[in-house]
């Protein structure tokens, strides 16, 4: 029988190959190597939750009606009997309460969306802290960054589709933010909503965006993202035998086919479990959109919290005297909205998008990098990353200020005042503390290399002294701790040459030197063999 199966398989393969020359692809892909590390699977989490989103989303489109036409509810839900609502909301209730498994699919879709966005950020953080964005992967960082932005667009457009009070108020905030943009804002608002808010065009437009435009772009960019991963081959953590010129790992077929393929089912399984047990986005609680009501705890989904937090944090009056909404020459410029909702996200995302170029330019590092950094060995980048995360978390906390106030019995006014200061102070503190920790860890690495591991065994010397026996590292352990680049800050030519003439471009060089110093002034060099020899001698 085995022979028969082989014959059939061979025949099929031949048939396909003669028409597609797929043999070359299979040869190329089947034994591609991937390094093994848990943190390399975070991107897969994002990919797999996106596939779950596609699968559950197809189910939902079969029942959702993207229309703002008003109908009167007549279904099993007692608290909605006879209530006027849009068809979008009514169809959401129908699929939740009358379609077996429909509510489950909504919950799978929504939980998968939260996981999708969370996984993207976590993956992005891993790339950032290990330096995987360096040459030649800058473009792929940009592709991934765009995917992150698209995930926000996908999330927000989908969140608004049921046309409930919660998301409707979110849309009203978006309208308010849009209107605040100088000169163009009013027209952009009309363009988005098809006239005055809320209009009747928005849900159908968001629907098209949510099921066609954004997922289409995401799919295309995922293809590009993965193509570049294959082209560049995967990065790897430092270790014996792992260099910038090779990749050490296990083959795509069969090991990663099973591991990564199986992981898809694990991700799906976790989402299904959580969706079976926990309610998410209970729109039947919020009710159909109506511009008048609003409920306590009005927040967007977590990935938009940082913008909402910014809007809450920014005062309308600075110290009760300086307005942040300006009226200049008869025109209104609401900086209290523009700063947190337009300028801050613009700078924040702009910095993230350009970071690979900023770092390469500031450090002058131009080589291809395939072995990852241990975050402690790049203290400045690591500290910058932690500072950015701290800034983000402060904004997220501020967006939850009413929830925190009620949970911990604090005044939300006091909390807001505290966070208004914290948003500036905490990132700086986080930067300084992280850098200290990184340098401390590096010193500890040096200690380990020079003096070995503590064994816990105490011995008494002949002259009565007690010492703990230290066991030297083996060469593999040592290699991980010493194999990193030791870059000194940029040296520049002096301002005046020996004839006392000021040279051109000195100021620019000084600026670049400043940046280089920012990155490399505080650093701990790896142990050299010579130092190790000396340490050994000192011991004996």
């Amino acid at each position: 029988m085995g022979a028969r199966v082989n014959a059939v398989a061979g025949g099929t393969a031949n048939w396909v190959d003669e028409r597609t020359s797929i043999g070359g692809f299979v040869k190329f892909f089947a034994r591609k190597l991937f390094p093994d590390h848990w943190s390399f699977m975070l991107g897969e989490v994002a990919l797999y939750s996106f596939i779950v989103l596609l699968l559950s989303g197809v189910f939902l489109t079969a029942f959702f009606v993207p229309s703002m036409t008003i109908v009167t509810y007549d279904g099993p839900l007692a608290t909605m009997q006879g209530v006027e609502m849009s068809e979008a909301f009514a169809s959401t209730l129908h699929m939740s309460f009358e379609v077996p498994g429909g509510l489950l699919m909504r919950q799978i879709h929504h939980w998968a969306a939260l996981l999708f966005t969370a996984a993207i950020l976590t993956h992005m953080a891993r790339i950032f802290f290990t330096g995987a964005f360096r040459k030649p992967r800058e473009l792929n960082w940009l592709v991934g960054f765009t995917l992150m932005i698209l995930s926000l667009a996908a999330g927000f457009s989908g969140y608004s589709l049921p046309d409930d009070v919660l998301s409707g108020n979110g849309l009203r905030i978006i309208e308010g933010v849009t209107r605040s943009i100088p000169i163009l804002g009013e027209y952009v608002s009309y363009w988005m909503f098809g006239g005055e808010f809320p209009g009747e065009a928005l849900i159908p437009r968001l629907f098209t965006m949510h099921i066609l435009l954004v997922p289409g772009l995401i799919l295309g960019l995922i293809a590009l993202h993965l193509f570049l991963v294959f082209l560049h081959k995967h990065t790897q953590y430092p270790g014996g035998g792992r260099t910038h010129k090779n990749v050490v790992g296990l083959p795509l077929f069969p090991v990663y086919t099973a591991k990564a393929g199986g992981f898809f089912f694990v991700v799906f399984g976790v989402i299904a479990l959580v969706s079976a047990v926990f309610t998410i986005n209970p729109v039947w609680n919020y009710g159909p959109y109506d511009p008048s009501p609003v409920s306590a705890g009005t927040q967007p989904d977590w990935y938009m919290l940082f913008i909402d937090g910014g809007l809450r944090l920014m005062p309308g009056w600075l110290f009760d005297v300086i307005p942040t909404e300006w009226e200049l020459w008869g025109y209104t410029i609401p900086m209290n909205v523009l700063v947190p909702a337009v300028i801050m996200p613009g700078l924040f995302f702009g910095f993230l998008a350009l970071y690979p170029w900023i770092e390469a330019w500031a450090t002058g590092d131009r080589g291809e990098k395939h072995v990852l950094d241990r975050p402690r060995n790049v203290p400045v980048r690591t500290s910058l990353g932690v500072a950015i995360i701290t800034f983000y978390v402060v904004l997220v906390l501020e967006a939850c200020n009413d929830i925190i106030a009620i949970l911990f019995h604090v005044s939300l006014n006091d909390l807001t005042l505290f966070l208004r200061v914290a948003v500036f102070v905490l990132p700086v503190l986080a930067y300084l503390i992280t850098r200290r920790i990184c340098l401390g860890l590096q010193r500890k690495d040096r200690e380990l290399v020079l003096h070995g591991k503590e064994t816990g065994r105490i011995v008494r010397h002949a002259h009565g002294e007690y010492v703990e026996v230290h066991e030297p590292l083996d060469e593999h352990e040592r290699w991980i701790l010493v194999s990193y680049d030791d870059i000194a800050p940029l040296e520049i030519a002096p301002e005046y040459n020996d004839r006392g003439v000021r040279r051109k471009g000195y100021k620019w060089d000084r600026f670049k030197q400043g940046l280089s110093r920012f990155y490399f002034e505080h650093r701990i060099s790896p142990v050299t063999p010579q130092e190790l020899e000396e340490a050994k001698h000192a011991h004996h």
């Binding site: 509510l103 009203r172 009013e186 591991k259 199986g262």
Partner: protein
């Protein structure tokens, strides 16, 4: 700590010591139990098969739940049906996933292999070939700079670029133009309120007598006739909603120029926040503060709804009210300034016939 924490310039007493450590190469590969012990391998195989079996049971559970559980419309039955289908899907997926991974971890190769990387840069020949091909192409197109008739080719290039840049307008202008629906931004400044229009309860639309509004009361208000609108009801409501509050007249600080806008402690303010347009609705009776639940702008109703906390800068617009012959509360006019969030031409767009009173921004 200005320089590297590294001892510098040792007298080298160890001439044979290298400058840097050497890569020790790949570590020794230690076999797993299943690699050396057939019993362990068999056990792993059985575990994998059991996990796949669990997945099959999960599928059966999901299908069984779908076919057997009646959703009667009761909350509990909906919850039960969804939960059982969900748990079935969970087992069906998890069984396959854990099984496949366990298989890969215990029975498939775990001895790492090495693959060389190749430079991403194309070879010099390939680059030269690419440049040659492009040059040939440019020549074939007649756009090359050498030879005669450069002016005609300049014309070609210029007209092509102009045409390509202009052509999208043929698509975009109608598209964008139509999507706006309308472009008259003066609409932002108008609401449905008119002189003599009664204030009615949200959502049922019944009129309110001044006597109904006892001290400490807060009424959520829509204009009379809003519910009967054929078109644009929600859009009208989005601008016209009002909060009607009665304070002890002794607590109320009447704003200059608005002496006749309130009635015996009854005041009406727009419910739409001047920050980004959420409904401001949390009225704290004792402090007379109105709090917006979206971004916590706080307005003092007793003092012209001025901002006392949060991101809003302007007070809520006040709706001037009076009492009609039958004792019902009516509007004296539309709002005297655009309601809701700020926009570029807000100060240009004041309401019908009543202009100038857009100040009130003093804090």
């Amino acid at each position: 700590m200005s320089t590297a924490d590294k001892p510098v310039d040792h007298e080298s007493t160890h001439g044979d010591v290298p400058d840097s450590f050497e890569d020790p190469g790949l570590p020794y590969h230690r076999p797993r139990r299943a690699d050396v012990d057939p019993k362990a391998a068999n056990k792993a195989e059985r575990q994998v098969a059991a996990l796949f079996g669990l997945s099959i049971l999960g599928t059966i559970l999901a299908l069984g739940a779908y076919f057997m559980i009646d959703m009667t419309g009761e909350i509990a039955s909906i919850r039960f049906a969804n939960m059982m289908i969900g748990l079935g899907i969970f087992l069906a997926m998890m069984g396959i996933g854990l099984g496949a991974i366990h298989w890969a971890k215990t029975l498939m190769r775990d001895h790492e292999m090495v693959e060389e990387r190749h430079a991403l840069r194309s070879s010099d020949e390939a680059r030269a070939g690419a440049i040659q091909n492009l040059q040939d192409g440019v020549e074939d197109s007649g756009l090359g700079s050498d030879g005669s008739g450069t002016s005609r080719r300049g014309l070609l290039k210029g007209s092509l670029i102009t045409a390509v840049l202009a052509a999208p307008l043929a698509l975009l202008v109608p598209q964008i133009g139509n999507m706006g629906g309308q472009w008259n931004t003066r609409e932002f400044a108008h609401t449905m309120w008119r002189q003599g229009m009664r204030l009615t309860r949200d959502p049922d639309g019944t009129p309110i007598k001044a006597a109904d509004v006892t001290i400490g009361s807060a009424f959520h208000v829509i204009p009379d006739g809003l519910n009967d609108l054929e078109h644009g009801k929600i859009e009208a409501k989005a601008k016209a909603v009002v909060l009607l509050i009665r304070l002890d007249p002794r607590d109320l600080k009447i704003q200059p120029g608005r002496e006749d806008w309130s009635f015996d402690g009854i005041v009406a303010y727009s419910k739409i926040c001047t920050h980004v347009g959420c409904p401001v609705a949390l009225y704290e009776q004792q402090t007379h503060h109105l709090l917006c639940p979206c971004h916590q702008s706080t307005f003092d109703v007793a003092d012209g709804a001025k901002v006392v906390f949060g991101p809003a800068k302007r007070p809520l617009p006040q709706l001037p009210i009076a009492i009609d012959d039958e004792g019902y509360i009516v509007a004296k006019s539309d709002f005297h300034e655009p309601i809701g969030s700020s926009y570029w031409t807000r100060l240009k767009n004041t309401s019908d016939g009543l202009s100038g009173d857009t100040e009130g921004g003093s804090h």
